[in-house]
Symmetry: C2
Subunit: 157 residues, 2 copies
Amino acid sequence: MKIREPYKKLPKIVETSIEWNGAMGFKCNSGSGHEILADASAHHGGQDGGARPMELLLLALTSCTGMDVATFLKKRKRDLRDMKISAHGRRTPNHPHVFETITLEYVFAGSDLTDDDIRWAIDLSLDKYCSVAGMLRKVCRINYHWKVNKTAPGAKA
Amino acid sequence: MKIREPYKKLPKIVETSIEWNGAMGFKCNSGSGHEILADASAHHGGQDGGARPMELLLLALTSCTGMDVATFLKKRKRDLRDMKISAHGRRTPNHPHVFETITLEYVFAGSDLTDDDIRWAIDLSLDKYCSVAGMLRKVCRINYHWKVNKTAPGAKA
């Protein structure tokens, strides 16, 4: 099955702005109108008022590939009931402490999901459609694995 | 002035997890214990319940460099009163619609900030310490500019 242009009319420009709180925290505003908080730990001079920047990077990646995988499995008319994605990023020991490896664990629930469906959907996302993976995979190894919890057809996960 | 190891004991492993809402949204949990929401627009099958993934990527970058710049200017004992950072990411027209250029605008307020201080702090961040920039600048042009609003010494911005 070929997926043609799952996302049409993506904005060409993405915008955000952040405002400093005087210590290490920032009120973060997305161009789409959502506010989140970013902060450092107390150990690094912050107040732990929000997520760390490198956590936001992993959340960007996982939410991006998660949207893809949900889209693709629905287009294949699979009975996807639940999905969770965990990410573990391993940083290099020296500055700037970039991720050298990111490991993604996808956990699905559904009655008819096959390993073939899942591998297809994840590969299509990470190799072709996921904008965040399209950047990070050029500078960092992205590994993934998955689990499927089988449910009865139509059952809630 | 040389900054030695501004951030000690950064966690080697960064962890996050996300849970699907059945459409295009995800409840996002950071390993540090903070929850945010990610979602697509209604146009893309979402409910606009949270920030878009590519917005989270810009927020990861700006909060990361913002923490650096605040740290460096404070270490130089500058009277930094306020800081805002806007980001504009321009995506490529074809999938996976990665950012080809990210433009950062730093807006500072303070009584004694010089252009030399600011250029030094931003360059040190983007070129050496900012983990997110350390990854993105290898796959994307990152431009920046800044403005300084002068305040009276000790005045609130």
